[in-house]
Protein backbone atom coordinates (compact mmCIF):
# COMPACT_ATOMS: atom_id res chain seq x y z
CA UNK A 1 0.00 0.00 0.00
CA UNK A 2 2.75 2.44 1.00
CA UNK A 3 4.86 1.46 -1.99
CA UNK A 4 1.85 1.91 -4.24
CA UNK A 5 1.11 5.35 -2.79
CA UNK A 6 4.71 6.45 -3.25
CA UNK A 7 4.76 5.14 -6.80
CA UNK A 8 1.58 7.06 -7.58
CA UNK A 9 3.01 10.27 -6.11
CA UNK A 10 6.12 9.88 -8.25
CA UNK A 11 3.79 9.23 -11.18
CA UNK A 12 2.31 12.70 -10.74
CA UNK A 13 5.61 14.31 -11.73
CA UNK A 14 5.47 13.56 -15.48
CA UNK A 15 1.84 14.68 -15.66
CA UNK A 16 2.73 17.95 -13.94
CA UNK A 17 5.66 18.35 -16.29
CA UNK A 18 3.37 17.96 -19.30
CA UNK A 19 0.94 20.45 -17.76
CA UNK A 20 3.65 23.04 -17.18
CA UNK A 21 5.13 22.57 -20.63
CA UNK A 22 1.78 22.75 -22.44
CA UNK A 23 0.69 25.80 -20.48
CA UNK A 24 4.05 27.54 -20.93
CA UNK A 25 4.06 27.29 -24.71
CA UNK A 26 0.35 27.64 -25.42
CA UNK A 27 0.04 30.84 -23.44
CA UNK A 28 3.02 32.35 -25.26
CA UNK A 29 1.45 31.45 -28.61
CA UNK A 30 -1.38 33.81 -27.76
CA UNK A 31 -1.26 37.11 -29.65
CA UNK A 32 -0.19 40.13 -27.65
CA UNK A 33 2.26 40.39 -24.76
CA UNK A 34 2.16 41.58 -21.17
CA UNK A 35 3.43 45.07 -21.98
CA UNK A 36 1.16 45.88 -24.91
CA UNK A 37 -0.81 48.92 -23.87
CA UNK A 38 -3.06 51.38 -25.63
CA UNK A 39 -0.29 53.93 -25.43
CA UNK A 40 2.73 52.22 -26.91
CA UNK A 41 5.91 52.34 -24.81
CA UNK A 42 9.02 53.88 -26.31
CA UNK A 43 11.28 51.20 -27.79
CA UNK A 44 13.99 51.82 -25.20
CA UNK A 45 11.64 51.35 -22.22
CA UNK A 46 10.10 48.34 -23.89
CA UNK A 47 13.51 46.77 -24.45
CA UNK A 48 14.46 47.41 -20.84
CA UNK A 49 11.23 45.84 -19.57
CA UNK A 50 11.70 42.82 -21.79
CA UNK A 51 15.28 42.46 -20.60
CA UNK A 52 14.32 42.85 -16.95
CA UNK A 53 11.80 39.99 -17.18
CA UNK A 54 13.95 37.90 -19.49
CA UNK A 55 11.45 38.18 -22.34
CA UNK A 56 14.20 39.10 -24.83
CA UNK A 57 15.70 35.62 -24.56
CA UNK A 58 14.75 32.78 -26.92
CA UNK A 59 11.73 30.76 -25.77
CA UNK A 60 13.83 27.70 -24.95
CA UNK A 61 15.99 29.76 -22.57
CA UNK A 62 12.90 31.28 -20.93
CA UNK A 63 11.46 27.80 -20.51
CA UNK A 64 14.67 26.49 -18.95
CA UNK A 65 14.85 29.41 -16.56
CA UNK A 66 11.21 28.98 -15.57
CA UNK A 67 11.68 25.29 -14.84
CA UNK A 68 14.82 26.05 -12.84
CA UNK A 69 13.05 28.65 -10.72
CA UNK A 70 10.08 26.31 -10.32
CA UNK A 71 12.29 23.59 -8.84
CA UNK A 72 13.31 26.11 -6.19
CA UNK A 73 9.61 26.83 -5.53
CA UNK A 74 9.79 30.26 -7.13
CA UNK A 75 6.88 31.04 -9.43
CA UNK A 76 8.44 34.29 -10.64
CA UNK A 77 7.38 37.93 -10.54
CA UNK A 78 3.96 39.09 -11.64
CA UNK A 79 4.05 41.26 -14.76
CA UNK A 80 0.98 43.30 -13.91
CA UNK A 81 0.92 43.51 -10.14
CA UNK A 82 4.15 45.46 -9.80
CA UNK A 83 6.38 44.58 -6.84
CA UNK A 84 4.46 41.37 -6.13
CA UNK A 85 5.74 37.90 -6.79
CA UNK A 86 3.29 35.27 -7.96
CA UNK A 87 3.99 33.35 -4.75
CA UNK A 88 2.82 36.33 -2.69
CA UNK A 89 -0.31 36.91 -4.79
CA UNK A 90 -1.39 33.28 -4.66
CA UNK A 91 -0.56 33.00 -0.96
CA UNK A 92 -2.81 36.01 -0.39
CA UNK A 93 -5.86 34.65 -2.21
CA UNK A 94 -5.57 30.90 -1.92
CA UNK A 95 -6.54 30.43 1.76
CA UNK A 96 -9.95 32.01 1.15
CA UNK A 97 -10.52 30.02 -2.06
CA UNK A 98 -9.47 26.83 -0.31
CA UNK A 99 -11.74 27.48 2.67
CA UNK A 100 -14.75 27.99 0.42
CA UNK A 101 -13.89 25.08 -1.85
CA UNK A 102 -13.22 22.55 0.90
CA UNK A 103 -16.26 23.63 2.90
CA UNK A 104 -18.41 23.27 -0.21
CA UNK A 105 -17.02 19.84 -1.10
CA UNK A 106 -17.49 18.63 2.48
CA UNK A 107 -21.03 19.98 2.67
CA UNK A 108 -21.88 18.43 -0.70
CA UNK A 109 -20.77 14.93 0.32
CA UNK A 110 -22.30 15.21 3.81
CA UNK A 111 -25.68 16.21 2.35
CA UNK A 112 -25.60 14.24 -0.89
CA UNK A 113 -24.71 10.78 0.44
CA UNK A 114 -27.45 10.55 3.12
CA UNK A 115 -30.08 11.97 0.75
CA UNK A 116 -29.13 9.50 -1.96
CA UNK A 117 -29.10 6.57 0.45
CA UNK A 118 -32.46 7.61 1.82
CA UNK A 119 -33.91 7.90 -1.69
CA UNK A 120 -32.64 4.41 -2.55
CA UNK A 121 -34.14 2.88 0.61
CA UNK A 122 -37.52 4.53 -0.03
CA UNK A 123 -37.31 4.11 -3.80
CA UNK A 124 -41.06 3.72 -4.24
CA UNK A 125 -42.11 6.72 -2.18
CA UNK A 126 -43.29 9.91 -3.79
CA UNK A 127 -40.94 12.02 -1.65
CA UNK A 128 -37.89 10.12 -2.94
CA UNK A 129 -38.98 10.59 -6.55
CA UNK A 130 -39.56 14.28 -5.97
CA UNK A 131 -36.12 14.52 -4.39
CA UNK A 132 -34.50 12.91 -7.42
CA UNK A 133 -36.31 15.24 -9.84
CA UNK A 134 -35.12 18.17 -7.75
CA UNK A 135 -31.60 16.79 -7.84
CA UNK A 136 -31.65 16.87 -11.67
CA UNK A 137 -32.49 20.55 -11.35
CA UNK A 138 -29.61 20.99 -8.93
CA UNK A 139 -27.18 19.31 -11.31
CA UNK A 140 -28.25 21.47 -14.23
CA UNK A 141 -28.39 24.89 -12.54
CA UNK A 142 -25.04 26.62 -13.13
CA UNK A 143 -23.28 28.50 -10.32
CA UNK A 144 -23.50 31.79 -12.19
CA UNK A 145 -27.30 31.52 -12.11
CA UNK A 146 -27.68 30.16 -8.58
CA UNK A 147 -25.17 32.62 -7.09
CA UNK A 148 -26.84 35.85 -8.19
CA UNK A 149 -30.30 34.45 -7.39
CA UNK A 150 -29.28 33.46 -3.86
CA UNK A 151 -27.64 36.86 -3.40
CA UNK A 152 -30.83 38.53 -4.62
CA UNK A 153 -33.15 36.56 -2.35
CA UNK A 154 -31.10 36.06 0.83
CA UNK A 155 -28.89 39.12 0.54
CA UNK A 156 -31.25 41.82 -0.67
CA UNK A 157 -34.95 40.93 -0.48
CA UNK A 158 -34.58 39.03 2.76
CA UNK A 159 -31.20 40.02 4.15
CA UNK A 160 -30.22 36.98 6.21
CA UNK A 161 -26.62 36.87 5.05
CA UNK A 162 -24.22 39.60 4.08
CA UNK A 163 -23.33 40.01 0.44
CA UNK A 164 -20.66 42.26 -1.04
CA UNK A 165 -18.02 44.36 0.69
CA UNK A 166 -16.21 41.34 2.12
CA UNK A 167 -14.68 41.75 5.58
CA UNK A 168 -12.16 39.06 6.49
CA UNK A 169 -13.12 36.89 9.41
CA UNK A 170 -16.89 37.28 9.16
CA UNK A 171 -18.27 33.86 8.18
CA UNK A 172 -21.63 35.42 7.31
CA UNK A 173 -20.15 36.41 3.95
CA UNK A 174 -19.18 32.84 3.16
CA UNK A 175 -22.48 31.03 3.67
CA UNK A 176 -24.08 31.83 0.32
CA UNK A 177 -20.89 31.22 -1.72
CA UNK A 178 -20.42 27.82 -0.09
CA UNK A 179 -24.06 26.85 -0.70
CA UNK A 180 -23.81 27.97 -4.34
CA UNK A 181 -20.71 25.86 -4.86
CA UNK A 182 -22.02 22.85 -2.96
CA UNK A 183 -25.47 22.65 -4.54
CA UNK A 184 -24.63 21.03 -7.91
CA UNK A 185 -22.06 18.68 -6.34
CA UNK A 186 -24.50 17.63 -3.62
CA UNK A 187 -27.20 16.99 -6.23
CA UNK A 188 -24.84 14.90 -8.35
CA UNK A 189 -23.55 12.96 -5.34
CA UNK A 190 -27.14 12.25 -4.28
CA UNK A 191 -27.93 10.84 -7.73
CA UNK A 192 -24.78 8.73 -7.79
CA UNK A 193 -25.42 7.36 -4.29
CA UNK A 194 -29.05 6.61 -5.10
CA UNK A 195 -28.09 4.68 -8.26
CA UNK A 196 -25.32 2.62 -6.71
CA UNK A 197 -27.17 2.06 -3.43
CA UNK A 198 -30.27 0.73 -5.14
CA UNK A 199 -28.03 -1.70 -7.04
CA UNK A 200 -26.28 -2.82 -3.85
CA UNK A 201 -29.62 -3.26 -2.07
CA UNK A 202 -30.61 -5.99 -4.54
CA UNK A 203 -27.52 -8.07 -3.73
CA UNK A 204 -27.55 -11.32 -1.79
CA UNK A 205 -25.55 -10.19 1.22
CA UNK A 206 -28.05 -7.40 1.85
CA UNK A 207 -30.92 -9.87 1.64
CA UNK A 208 -29.08 -12.12 4.10
CA UNK A 209 -28.53 -9.24 6.49
CA UNK A 210 -32.18 -8.32 6.39
CA UNK A 211 -33.29 -11.94 6.64
CA UNK A 212 -31.32 -12.47 9.83
CA UNK A 213 -33.31 -9.60 11.30
CA UNK A 214 -30.90 -6.67 11.36
CA UNK A 215 -32.43 -3.25 11.80
CA UNK A 216 -32.71 -1.11 8.70
CA UNK A 217 -30.08 1.39 9.76
CA UNK A 218 -27.59 -1.40 10.56
CA UNK A 219 -28.08 -2.94 7.12
CA UNK A 220 -27.59 0.43 5.48
CA UNK A 221 -24.63 1.61 7.52
CA UNK A 222 -22.68 -1.61 8.13
CA UNK A 223 -23.36 -3.58 5.00
CA UNK A 224 -24.62 -1.55 2.08
CA UNK A 225 -22.93 1.81 2.49
CA UNK A 226 -19.32 0.84 1.89
CA UNK A 227 -19.76 -0.89 -1.46
CA UNK A 228 -22.29 1.74 -2.51
CA UNK A 229 -19.77 4.52 -1.92
CA UNK A 230 -17.33 3.33 -4.60
CA UNK A 231 -18.74 5.32 -7.54
CA UNK A 232 -19.22 8.27 -5.20
CA UNK A 233 -15.56 8.24 -4.25
CA UNK A 234 -14.46 8.07 -7.86
CA UNK A 235 -16.44 11.27 -8.36
CA UNK A 236 -14.22 12.98 -5.76
CA UNK A 237 -11.60 14.03 -8.32
CA UNK A 238 -14.08 15.52 -10.83
CA UNK A 239 -15.94 17.13 -7.92
CA UNK A 240 -12.84 19.01 -6.85
CA UNK A 241 -12.22 20.13 -10.43
CA UNK A 242 -15.84 21.27 -10.52
CA UNK A 243 -15.54 23.19 -7.26
CA UNK A 244 -12.40 24.92 -8.55
CA UNK A 245 -14.22 25.94 -11.73
CA UNK A 246 -17.17 27.09 -9.71
CA UNK A 247 -15.00 29.11 -7.35
CA UNK A 248 -13.95 31.32 -10.28
CA UNK A 249 -17.62 32.25 -10.75
CA UNK A 250 -18.58 32.38 -7.10
CA UNK A 251 -15.69 34.67 -6.18
CA UNK A 252 -16.68 37.02 -8.98
CA UNK A 253 -20.40 36.95 -8.10
CA UNK A 254 -19.92 37.54 -4.39
CA UNK A 255 -16.91 39.83 -4.72
CA UNK A 256 -14.60 37.64 -2.65
CA UNK A 257 -10.85 38.31 -2.82
CA UNK A 258 -9.89 34.69 -3.54
CA UNK A 259 -7.29 33.56 -6.03
CA UNK A 260 -9.74 32.67 -8.83
CA UNK A 261 -9.68 36.15 -10.32
CA UNK A 262 -5.91 35.87 -10.89
CA UNK A 263 -6.44 33.10 -13.39
CA UNK A 264 -8.95 34.94 -15.57
CA UNK A 265 -7.43 38.40 -15.22
CA UNK A 266 -3.93 37.02 -15.63
CA UNK A 267 -4.96 35.28 -18.85
CA UNK A 268 -6.49 38.49 -20.23
CA UNK A 269 -3.46 40.58 -19.19
CA UNK A 270 -0.98 38.04 -20.56
CA UNK A 271 0.60 37.94 -17.12
CA UNK A 272 2.41 34.70 -17.99
CA UNK A 273 3.92 33.80 -14.60
CA UNK A 274 0.65 34.49 -12.76
CA UNK A 275 -1.41 32.25 -15.06
CA UNK A 276 1.25 29.56 -14.95
CA UNK A 277 1.34 29.70 -11.16
CA UNK A 278 -2.46 29.42 -10.91
CA UNK A 279 -2.59 26.53 -13.37
CA UNK A 280 0.15 24.76 -11.48
CA UNK A 281 -1.43 25.21 -8.04
CA UNK A 282 -4.92 24.22 -9.17
CA UNK A 283 -3.50 21.42 -11.31
CA UNK A 284 -1.70 19.94 -8.31
CA UNK A 285 -4.95 20.04 -6.33
CA UNK A 286 -6.88 18.24 -9.03
CA UNK A 287 -4.20 15.57 -9.43
CA UNK A 288 -3.83 15.02 -5.69
CA UNK A 289 -7.60 14.63 -5.32
CA UNK A 290 -7.67 12.09 -8.12
CA UNK A 291 -4.92 10.22 -6.29
CA UNK A 292 -6.77 10.33 -2.97
CA UNK A 293 -9.89 9.04 -4.74
CA UNK A 294 -7.91 6.12 -6.18
CA UNK A 295 -6.44 5.25 -2.79
CA UNK A 296 -9.84 5.40 -1.06
CA UNK A 297 -11.14 3.20 -3.82
CA UNK A 298 -8.80 0.41 -2.83
CA UNK A 299 -9.74 0.78 0.83
CA UNK A 300 -13.47 0.60 0.06
CA UNK A 301 -13.24 -2.31 -2.31
CA UNK A 302 -10.48 -4.79 -1.46
CA UNK A 303 -11.07 -6.50 -4.79
CA UNK A 304 -9.40 -3.55 -6.49
CA UNK A 305 -5.80 -4.73 -6.62
CA UNK A 306 -3.32 -2.00 -5.97
CA UNK A 307 -0.56 -3.15 -8.27
Amino acid sequence: MLAYTLRRIVGLVPTLFVLVTLAFFIIRLAPGGPFDQEQALTPAIRANLDAAYGLDQPLAVQYGRYLGALLRGDLGPSFRFKDFSVNELIAGGLPLSLTIGLAAALLAFLVGVPLGAWAAWHARSRAARLLMSLSLLGVVLPAFVVGPLLALVFGIYWPVFRVGGYEPGDPSFLVLPVITLALPVAAYVARLTRDSMSEVLTMNFVRTARAKGLAAHRVLLHHALRPALIPVVSYLGPAVAFVITGSLVVESVFGLPGSGRFLVQGAIDRDYPLVMGMILVYGVFTLVCNLVADLLYGWLDPRVRLT
Partner: protein, 271 residues
Protein backbone atom coordinates in the same frame (compact mmCIF):
# COMPACT_ATOMS: atom_id res chain seq x y z
CA UNK B 1 -34.37 1.12 -29.16
CA UNK B 2 -38.08 1.60 -29.47
CA UNK B 3 -39.78 4.82 -30.45
CA UNK B 4 -42.07 4.79 -27.42
CA UNK B 5 -41.30 7.96 -25.57
CA UNK B 6 -41.75 8.75 -21.92
CA UNK B 7 -43.69 11.81 -20.82
CA UNK B 8 -40.53 13.63 -19.71
CA UNK B 9 -38.87 13.02 -23.04
CA UNK B 10 -41.91 14.26 -24.96
CA UNK B 11 -42.15 17.43 -22.90
CA UNK B 12 -38.41 18.02 -23.30
CA UNK B 13 -38.63 17.60 -27.07
CA UNK B 14 -41.61 19.96 -27.34
CA UNK B 15 -39.89 22.60 -25.20
CA UNK B 16 -36.69 22.34 -27.23
CA UNK B 17 -38.49 22.46 -30.56
CA UNK B 18 -40.58 25.50 -29.62
CA UNK B 19 -37.61 27.37 -28.14
CA UNK B 20 -35.51 26.67 -31.22
CA UNK B 21 -38.29 27.84 -33.52
CA UNK B 22 -38.81 30.94 -31.42
CA UNK B 23 -35.09 31.70 -31.48
CA UNK B 24 -35.02 31.31 -35.26
CA UNK B 25 -38.06 33.47 -36.05
CA UNK B 26 -37.42 36.08 -33.33
CA UNK B 27 -35.83 38.61 -35.73
CA UNK B 28 -39.12 38.74 -37.66
CA UNK B 29 -41.38 38.75 -34.59
CA UNK B 30 -39.96 41.76 -32.82
CA UNK B 31 -39.50 45.22 -34.34
CA UNK B 32 -36.20 45.58 -32.46
CA UNK B 33 -32.72 44.48 -33.47
CA UNK B 34 -30.21 43.18 -30.87
CA UNK B 35 -28.13 46.36 -31.00
CA UNK B 36 -30.96 48.91 -31.34
CA UNK B 37 -31.07 51.40 -28.45
CA UNK B 38 -34.49 52.58 -27.30
CA UNK B 39 -33.75 55.84 -25.50
CA UNK B 40 -37.38 56.24 -24.38
CA UNK B 41 -37.34 52.95 -22.47
CA UNK B 42 -34.10 52.43 -20.60
CA UNK B 43 -34.19 49.54 -18.12
CA UNK B 44 -37.95 49.00 -18.35
CA UNK B 45 -39.59 45.88 -16.95
CA UNK B 46 -41.46 43.53 -19.32
CA UNK B 47 -44.40 45.33 -21.00
CA UNK B 48 -46.61 45.08 -24.06
CA UNK B 49 -46.20 48.71 -25.10
CA UNK B 50 -43.25 49.36 -27.45
CA UNK B 51 -43.00 45.57 -27.93
CA UNK B 52 -40.49 45.07 -25.09
CA UNK B 53 -42.03 41.75 -24.08
CA UNK B 54 -39.22 40.81 -21.74
CA UNK B 55 -38.08 44.32 -20.83
CA UNK B 56 -34.95 46.22 -21.81
CA UNK B 57 -31.46 46.54 -20.41
CA UNK B 58 -29.68 49.65 -19.17
CA UNK B 59 -28.95 50.84 -22.70
CA UNK B 60 -32.53 50.27 -23.81
CA UNK B 61 -31.79 47.14 -25.83
CA UNK B 62 -34.68 44.70 -26.08
CA UNK B 63 -34.10 41.65 -23.88
CA UNK B 64 -36.35 39.33 -25.86
CA UNK B 65 -34.35 39.91 -29.02
CA UNK B 66 -31.02 39.72 -27.21
CA UNK B 67 -32.04 36.63 -25.28
CA UNK B 68 -33.07 34.91 -28.50
CA UNK B 69 -29.78 35.88 -30.13
CA UNK B 70 -28.00 34.35 -27.14
CA UNK B 71 -30.11 31.22 -27.45
CA UNK B 72 -29.24 30.90 -31.14
CA UNK B 73 -25.55 31.21 -30.31
CA UNK B 74 -25.77 28.72 -27.47
CA UNK B 75 -27.62 26.13 -29.53
CA UNK B 76 -25.38 26.56 -32.59
CA UNK B 77 -22.23 26.35 -30.50
CA UNK B 78 -23.60 23.39 -28.59
CA UNK B 79 -24.31 21.48 -31.79
CA UNK B 80 -21.09 22.43 -33.60
CA UNK B 81 -18.76 21.79 -30.68
CA UNK B 82 -20.46 18.47 -29.97
CA UNK B 83 -20.07 17.56 -33.64
CA UNK B 84 -16.35 18.38 -33.47
CA UNK B 85 -15.90 16.33 -30.32
CA UNK B 86 -17.89 13.41 -31.77
CA UNK B 87 -15.78 13.40 -34.97
CA UNK B 88 -12.45 13.45 -33.12
CA UNK B 89 -13.60 11.17 -30.32
CA UNK B 90 -15.11 8.46 -32.52
CA UNK B 91 -12.14 8.39 -34.89
CA UNK B 92 -9.61 8.35 -32.05
CA UNK B 93 -11.46 5.72 -30.03
CA UNK B 94 -12.26 3.44 -32.96
CA UNK B 95 -8.71 3.54 -34.34
CA UNK B 96 -7.15 2.93 -30.91
CA UNK B 97 -9.58 0.15 -30.03
CA UNK B 98 -9.27 -1.57 -33.39
CA UNK B 99 -5.50 -1.27 -33.72
CA UNK B 100 -4.79 -2.46 -30.18
CA UNK B 101 -1.28 -3.09 -28.93
CA UNK B 102 1.26 -0.28 -28.74
CA UNK B 103 -0.71 2.22 -30.82
CA UNK B 104 -3.72 1.74 -28.57
CA UNK B 105 -1.59 2.14 -25.44
CA UNK B 106 0.06 5.30 -26.75
CA UNK B 107 -3.20 6.87 -27.91
CA UNK B 108 -5.01 6.17 -24.66
CA UNK B 109 -2.02 7.30 -22.61
CA UNK B 110 -2.32 10.63 -24.40
CA UNK B 111 -6.02 10.80 -23.53
CA UNK B 112 -5.22 9.98 -19.89
CA UNK B 113 -2.69 12.79 -19.63
CA UNK B 114 -4.95 15.40 -21.22
CA UNK B 115 -7.74 14.09 -19.00
CA UNK B 116 -5.70 14.75 -15.89
CA UNK B 117 -5.11 18.35 -16.92
CA UNK B 118 -7.79 20.67 -15.61
CA UNK B 119 -10.21 21.06 -18.50
CA UNK B 120 -11.16 24.65 -17.65
CA UNK B 121 -7.60 25.88 -17.79
CA UNK B 122 -7.04 24.46 -21.23
CA UNK B 123 -10.16 26.14 -22.54
CA UNK B 124 -9.31 29.42 -20.80
CA UNK B 125 -5.80 29.38 -22.24
CA UNK B 126 -7.10 28.46 -25.70
CA UNK B 127 -9.81 31.12 -25.57
CA UNK B 128 -7.29 33.84 -24.70
CA UNK B 129 -5.10 32.63 -27.53
CA UNK B 130 -7.74 32.95 -30.17
CA UNK B 131 -9.05 36.32 -31.34
CA UNK B 132 -11.47 37.54 -28.70
CA UNK B 133 -15.13 37.12 -29.48
CA UNK B 134 -14.60 34.90 -32.47
CA UNK B 135 -17.33 32.27 -32.28
CA UNK B 136 -15.53 29.79 -34.49
CA UNK B 137 -12.50 29.97 -32.23
CA UNK B 138 -14.64 29.41 -29.17
CA UNK B 139 -16.25 26.25 -30.45
CA UNK B 140 -12.96 24.82 -31.64
CA UNK B 141 -11.55 25.42 -28.17
CA UNK B 142 -14.46 23.69 -26.46
CA UNK B 143 -14.82 20.90 -29.01
CA UNK B 144 -11.12 20.17 -29.04
CA UNK B 145 -11.07 19.16 -25.37
CA UNK B 146 -14.57 17.68 -25.25
CA UNK B 147 -13.70 14.55 -27.24
CA UNK B 148 -11.80 12.72 -24.50
CA UNK B 149 -14.71 10.93 -22.84
CA UNK B 150 -16.15 10.08 -26.24
CA UNK B 151 -12.84 8.52 -27.28
CA UNK B 152 -12.80 6.36 -24.11
CA UNK B 153 -16.36 5.15 -24.57
CA UNK B 154 -15.88 4.35 -28.26
CA UNK B 155 -12.59 2.55 -27.61
CA UNK B 156 -14.22 0.37 -24.96
CA UNK B 157 -16.99 -0.64 -27.33
CA UNK B 158 -14.60 -1.20 -30.22
CA UNK B 159 -12.48 -3.58 -28.13
CA UNK B 160 -15.40 -5.98 -27.83
CA UNK B 161 -16.74 -5.39 -31.35
CA UNK B 162 -13.35 -6.32 -32.81
CA UNK B 163 -13.78 -9.88 -31.53
CA UNK B 164 -17.15 -10.38 -33.22
CA UNK B 165 -17.70 -12.70 -36.19
CA UNK B 166 -18.75 -10.04 -38.66
CA UNK B 167 -15.41 -8.30 -38.25
CA UNK B 168 -13.53 -11.56 -38.73
CA UNK B 169 -15.71 -12.19 -41.79
CA UNK B 170 -14.88 -8.76 -43.17
CA UNK B 171 -11.16 -9.37 -42.65
CA UNK B 172 -11.47 -12.77 -44.35
CA UNK B 173 -13.19 -11.12 -47.31
CA UNK B 174 -10.20 -8.80 -47.68
CA UNK B 175 -11.89 -5.57 -46.64
CA UNK B 176 -9.26 -2.94 -45.91
CA UNK B 177 -8.81 -1.76 -42.33
CA UNK B 178 -10.13 1.82 -42.79
CA UNK B 179 -13.26 0.42 -44.42
CA UNK B 180 -13.77 -2.07 -41.57
CA UNK B 181 -13.50 0.70 -39.00
CA UNK B 182 -15.75 3.07 -40.94
CA UNK B 183 -18.40 0.64 -42.20
CA UNK B 184 -18.46 -2.07 -39.55
CA UNK B 185 -17.28 -0.59 -36.26
CA UNK B 186 -18.58 2.99 -36.36
CA UNK B 187 -22.24 2.15 -37.20
CA UNK B 188 -22.26 -0.26 -34.27
CA UNK B 189 -21.21 2.34 -31.73
CA UNK B 190 -23.61 4.95 -33.14
CA UNK B 191 -26.40 4.52 -30.58
CA UNK B 192 -24.06 4.94 -27.63
CA UNK B 193 -22.44 7.91 -29.30
CA UNK B 194 -25.80 9.59 -29.90
CA UNK B 195 -26.91 9.07 -26.30
CA UNK B 196 -23.67 10.48 -25.01
CA UNK B 197 -23.65 13.37 -27.50
CA UNK B 198 -27.06 14.48 -26.24
CA UNK B 199 -25.48 14.85 -22.83
CA UNK B 200 -22.48 16.70 -24.31
CA UNK B 201 -24.60 19.47 -25.85
CA UNK B 202 -25.81 20.91 -22.50
CA UNK B 203 -22.26 20.69 -21.15
CA UNK B 204 -20.97 22.72 -24.07
CA UNK B 205 -23.76 25.29 -23.68
CA UNK B 206 -22.97 25.56 -20.00
CA UNK B 207 -19.30 26.00 -20.77
CA UNK B 208 -19.87 28.72 -23.33
CA UNK B 209 -22.08 30.60 -20.88
CA UNK B 210 -19.45 30.14 -18.19
CA UNK B 211 -16.73 31.61 -20.43
CA UNK B 212 -19.00 34.46 -21.53
CA UNK B 213 -19.90 35.11 -17.90
CA UNK B 214 -16.20 35.49 -17.11
CA UNK B 215 -15.82 37.79 -20.11
CA UNK B 216 -13.73 35.33 -22.13
CA UNK B 217 -16.44 34.21 -24.54
CA UNK B 218 -18.72 36.15 -26.84
CA UNK B 219 -17.96 39.89 -26.88
CA UNK B 220 -20.22 42.94 -27.15
CA UNK B 221 -22.34 43.88 -29.03
CA UNK B 222 -23.23 40.22 -29.57
CA UNK B 223 -25.13 38.75 -26.65
CA UNK B 224 -24.79 35.27 -25.25
CA UNK B 225 -26.88 33.87 -22.41
CA UNK B 226 -23.80 33.88 -20.19
CA UNK B 227 -22.89 37.50 -20.88
CA UNK B 228 -26.53 38.55 -20.41
CA UNK B 229 -26.60 36.80 -17.03
CA UNK B 230 -23.38 38.58 -16.09
CA UNK B 231 -24.83 41.98 -17.03
CA UNK B 232 -28.10 41.14 -15.30
CA UNK B 233 -26.36 40.08 -12.10
CA UNK B 234 -24.85 43.54 -11.79
CA UNK B 235 -28.26 45.22 -12.07
CA UNK B 236 -30.33 42.72 -10.13
CA UNK B 237 -31.01 44.99 -7.15
CA UNK B 238 -32.92 47.52 -9.23
CA UNK B 239 -34.00 45.48 -12.27
CA UNK B 240 -34.20 41.76 -11.46
CA UNK B 241 -35.73 40.86 -14.87
CA UNK B 242 -32.36 41.52 -16.53
CA UNK B 243 -31.03 38.53 -14.58
CA UNK B 244 -34.17 36.40 -14.56
CA UNK B 245 -34.88 36.45 -18.30
CA UNK B 246 -31.56 35.02 -19.56
CA UNK B 247 -31.25 32.74 -16.51
CA UNK B 248 -34.69 31.23 -17.16
CA UNK B 249 -33.88 30.70 -20.85
CA UNK B 250 -30.58 29.00 -20.09
CA UNK B 251 -31.97 26.79 -17.34
CA UNK B 252 -34.97 25.69 -19.45
CA UNK B 253 -32.74 24.63 -22.35
CA UNK B 254 -30.28 22.85 -20.04
CA UNK B 255 -33.02 20.95 -18.21
CA UNK B 256 -34.73 19.89 -21.44
CA UNK B 257 -31.45 18.64 -22.95
CA UNK B 258 -30.44 16.83 -19.76
CA UNK B 259 -33.79 15.08 -19.43
CA UNK B 260 -33.49 14.00 -23.07
CA UNK B 261 -29.92 12.79 -22.66
CA UNK B 262 -30.61 11.00 -19.38
CA UNK B 263 -33.59 9.15 -20.81
CA UNK B 264 -31.65 8.11 -23.90
CA UNK B 265 -28.75 6.88 -21.78
CA UNK B 266 -30.98 4.92 -19.44
CA UNK B 267 -32.72 3.34 -22.42
CA UNK B 268 -29.32 2.27 -23.74
CA UNK B 269 -28.51 0.72 -20.39
CA UNK B 270 -31.75 -1.28 -20.41
CA UNK B 271 -31.44 -2.56 -23.99
Amino acid sequence: MTLRMSLGMRVALIVLASLTTLALVAPWLSPWTPDALDWENLATPPQWAHAHWLGTDRLGRDLFVRGMQGLRISLTLGLLATLVSVCIGVTWGAVAGYAGGRLDAAMMRFVDIVYALPYVFIVIILSTMLPRGSLAALFIAIGAVGWLTMARIVRGQTLSLRQREFVTAAIACGVRTPAIIWRHIVPNVATTVIAYATLTIPQVILFESFLSFLGLGVQEPIASLGSLINEGAQEMETSPWMLLVPAALLVTVLIALSVLGDTLREKRAHD
